[in-house]
Symmetry: D2
Subunit: 353 residues, 4 copies
């Protein structure tokens, strides 16, 4: 019930602020004997890393992860794996204005209301920088579920939706977009928003294939409930759906059914409206989740607000920020998917053998 | 980490199957000294109760709740409160066909894959009947947060959306609909689906007003993450959004900001796109969540499926079922909202005094 | 973190008061497919049942357990198992004096200090009657670990220690004593205390054989740490030791070592000072725990105390009580041992496969 | 349920091995606004630090703690506090023999049985070095409970018991002994064991005064159950008792009662057999716990054992080890006491306001 931990059996705890000396995660409950080195985790961190294109924050962070415990002679020992990423490119002077007034839509006011004060430098604990720790932890989770393949991609930015899917495209543009034509449109769209000092929202879709039937659990550790918590816990996320999601609410029962047929390797399904989960338990079909990110609340456009003593003022955030934080959400969504699935694999093995 | 429990400090565990002798919940961590009797809980159970109109399952259950522990001389003692609801109107003969083949879209196949067999009578543990236990537990949670007012209503059935809001209407129609005109349309819509042996999905919106700023916690016990888990854990739910949700992903940063102004009783907000939560912590604005229910998967229309030995067959479910399970979802969503908020009130008090 | 739950993967939650209508437990996380009926649990409840000799409380309770969920066609389904035991022989009139003043050594005062009031009838939630629920839950745990054999016996009453061990004797006397000679002495000892309105303490030893090497986990879910919590949570327990326990603190390193030799079925140990646990993980040797029970605090001898408004008074407890509550502790200690071991079996399987 | 975490609301997770680059703890759930810097924690680490006398291991570790997160402008922010202590004086070559064969009484064999292999350098995760992280975390817990005063001292080494108590003496000798005469005896005793390549056990007593009545909770988060788990989880601990502990099992009910009298500041007690806890809840009296440490299992005296392939051999441990690990247990026991009490203070405030 640790408020900065996630998971049942494979459980990770993150720590760190945007402008502190470092951030990290402790991954507990990892099976022993898995080959693990920093090189297994770095590619995922590199994918999430800021400053690699003009479409993300210009903060330059190498995001080099160090493994401080839990690995011996190249293999996991079954004891806690401590991961640390140093913060390198803090520029705390950027945040003097944020210290005095609240950015509407940001966590500033809520943190002050809860804790009485806050680390305002770069958003402190509420910064999306925390997601680097999740991504590193997710890299370990992937080793626990080699049978599963996870792909996340951005399907919509600022209301403009991708319409085709070519997985090879995802790595070819800075938007994690599987549709080359949409990616070209988004380049202009995001550029325009960036130059206007505005920001855009996005929708990320993530598909995990290879998940066997039987992972998950009724009723409060449902696979979809845990996925919902995992995704809604990511910064800027306001919506989560499984399979057809809200669209399923507009289907009739016979349209929404996923008919089953005998197949060579067990049952085959003629559709996947359910997104691979029924009754909280995986069906053997791909697990599909879609996640809605709001636009970044740190924008250059001045917005009416109040200051710490409650007086009216307005604020424009001059620090370095992502014009569309949802873009870099794709690797984070992948990591959370991996962490939930790996955890449920262990839970299932624990209960059902 | 109990898989049938929910909550951190105010924690409840449910048990029971659709056709067992009874079902119930144990509510642990309730503050002492709260006035509590069965009469405080029964109205919520009555609202969820089946068989009260032709738009819900025709199973007749009085759903009378008994308090078996944790209350002395009319007040909560601070020890576990055991709630029990007897099952009265089981007709297990209805389910012989379900025992043999899997209903597409239902938990049948996933349960068998996980556990090796299942209690097929009425869906067993996966039946929406379990939600009676949540509603009873939610009644206790409400006593913990007298400062909060929770209202859920159905805003959409089968793709037909309500367009006006008059809270007084909610209790006047069998759809928990705040729009009398929409309710009249839905009467025909649901009747038609019911007669056709089909089913419809629905969207429920729930608003909690009176929540003070400061409840919730970064990052894995975010108020919105816990709400997402709570709602996604309800039977038939496939989507959850907070505030503007997916629509926020289509707004620009300046449109999505909720500007703040000084008010007589603390800050006032000029909008509530955030749905009352920023950075996982309540802002003092109404907490708004929307929940998408898929259409019931038990339908009279025959669907292709396989049987327990993997052979092709088709199935039509003849038992008594809700033509639109989302309708009765409204009281369940209210209960889960109450349980999450009450839990976070205690958590906040614990950490921050 | 539920305060009335115990266990990680196999987790149970108990509820109920001494004089409420019933008490019970919900057992969550049980593996599916285990044969289970009330007949599997009743013998353990019968062993703990009061009123069977003059050496226990004269309250007459059949302690018949009912299984309300989680079992279908005679097998566990993997869903929560709800167990209920009705209270039959309450005599609440006995407790009028306890309502007004605090029994020294009892939970009365502490409960009032914490909760503001208490259910004083028979000790309410603090009554040893709650242990019936543990014993029932323990019966389920035993089914999860058929490879393990658990035997608890009373080794000391009122400072008089048993000196021989014949397991067959345990069931032949009302003291769970493996030493027939000691049992004969204890008969007089306990009789004398009972007639004098006094009470006696006891020490229970419990040995679990057949536990394979590898159960448990560093560092905060150590097998011995969980056993310590399990035992110290039993009413009236004030001390727990593993293996040689406090005596080990008086040994030299070479005396306390358990030398290992190659054996036909894996390593053999030449001693078991460690009580079958090293570094929090089982070694394959018998797991040995000893538990100290204080004398019952409800005694006929008047003791100085204060009443609810803080005035000086004295109290003599006239209700029905065990003259030596440790005696009936033996089946409870066995149940807790089973619950901890079963839980760790599942945990180990979850993490290590 | 993280296996390397402890606590309910104030929860800490430790990581690190004896010979890894560093070790540490993440403390989650700390109240905001508490003044905190490294200087608040260092004195406790210094008290536990090895190499300060010839009676502890000769490993030289500065044990300088760094705070990496959760503190801003000198105050706790309410977010996770990451503590790191670098390992400086590893000499991994010392452990070549330990890699091949199992030290009887040590965790070596159990770790291999569980995980398939182990980090054998200095005991890896099972090393008492991990307790540095607890001591650092305990320093934070103390800030949460300024009303409580905690004193631990060694009351027995190798069976030789201290007989007088002068708190000022504790800091004057290397044994945390409150009895100057006993300390002088122990100097010879431990020296002799050290020179003989043997080791000794010890008993530590810890008293927390100032704990108000009402902390703790029935039944599975009892204050004494949590203390038992906390203490039994410390390396080398085999026994825990509260108040009179096992001695209470030899008292009669009227002897064991702690009579109550009206006092100027609430009730006064005429004795404290209960060790400040009744029914799992604090009574307002000092909380008293005694903890038994076995002798260090790493000794120079050769002991029969087996090697990794199961063949007979013998082992003598030549690395640097504490001749009596219980001595340095005193600061660790204090830290665990602080952590349990601080956690229960928050829990009580959460549930009872």
């Amino acid at each position: 019930m640790s408020i900065n931990s996630f998971g049942h059996l494979l459980r990770f705890t993150t720590w760190g602020e945007s402008h502190g000396p470092a951030l990290g995660a402790v991954v507990d409950g990892c099976p022993p004997g898995l080959g693990l080195s920093e090189a297994d985790l770095q590619p995922f961190l590199d994918a999430r890393r800021p400053g690699t294109s003009r479409f993300t924050t210009q903060r330059r962070e190498p995001d080099e992860v160090r493994i401080l415990s839990g690995v011996f002679e190249g293999r996991t020992t079954g004891t806690p794996i401590s991961l640390m990423i140093e913060n390198v490119d803090q520029r705390s002077k950027d945040y003097s204005e944020v210290a005095k007034a609240y950015r509407p839509g940001h966590a500033d006011y809520a943190y002050d209301a809860k804790y009485g004060f806050r680390d305002y430098r770069g958003g402190g604990r509420s910064s999306a920088r925390e997601t680097a720790a999740r991504v590193a932890a997710g890299g370990i989770a992937r080793l626990v579920i080699p049978e599963v393949r996870i792909v996340a991609h951005v399907i919509e930015i600022g209301g403009d939706r991708a319409t085709s899917f070519d997985e090879a495209e995802i790595a070819r543009n800075p938007f994690f977009c599987a549709d080359a034509v949409a990616a070209a449109r988004w380049e202009k769209l995001v550029d325009k928003a960036r130059k206007a000092g505005s920001s855009l929202g996005a929708v990320v879709e993530c598909v995990a294939s290879g998940v066997p039937a039987g992972w998950g659990a009724p009723l409060y550790a449902k696979l979809d409930a845990d996925l919902a918590a995992a995704m809604m816990g990511i910064n800027a996320v306001k919506a989560v759906e499984i399979g057809d999601g809200f669209a399923a609410a507009r289907l009739r029962g016979e349209e929404n059914a996923d008919p089953m047929r005998p197949g060579e390797n067990g049952p085959e399904f003629l559709a996947n409206h359910a997104g691979g989960i029924a009754g909280g338990i995986s069906t053997g079909q791909p697990v599909v989740v879609r996640v809605g990110f709001k636009p970044t609340s740190s924008i250059l456009t001045p917005v009416e607000t109040i200051d710490r003593v409650g007086a009216a003022t307005e604020i424009a955030t001059k620090g370095r920020h992502d014009p569309c934080v949802g873009i870099r959400g794709a690797p984070v969504v992948e990591a959370m998917m991996a962490l939930v699935l790996a955890d449920h694999k262990l839970l299932h093995r624990g209960q059902c053998g």
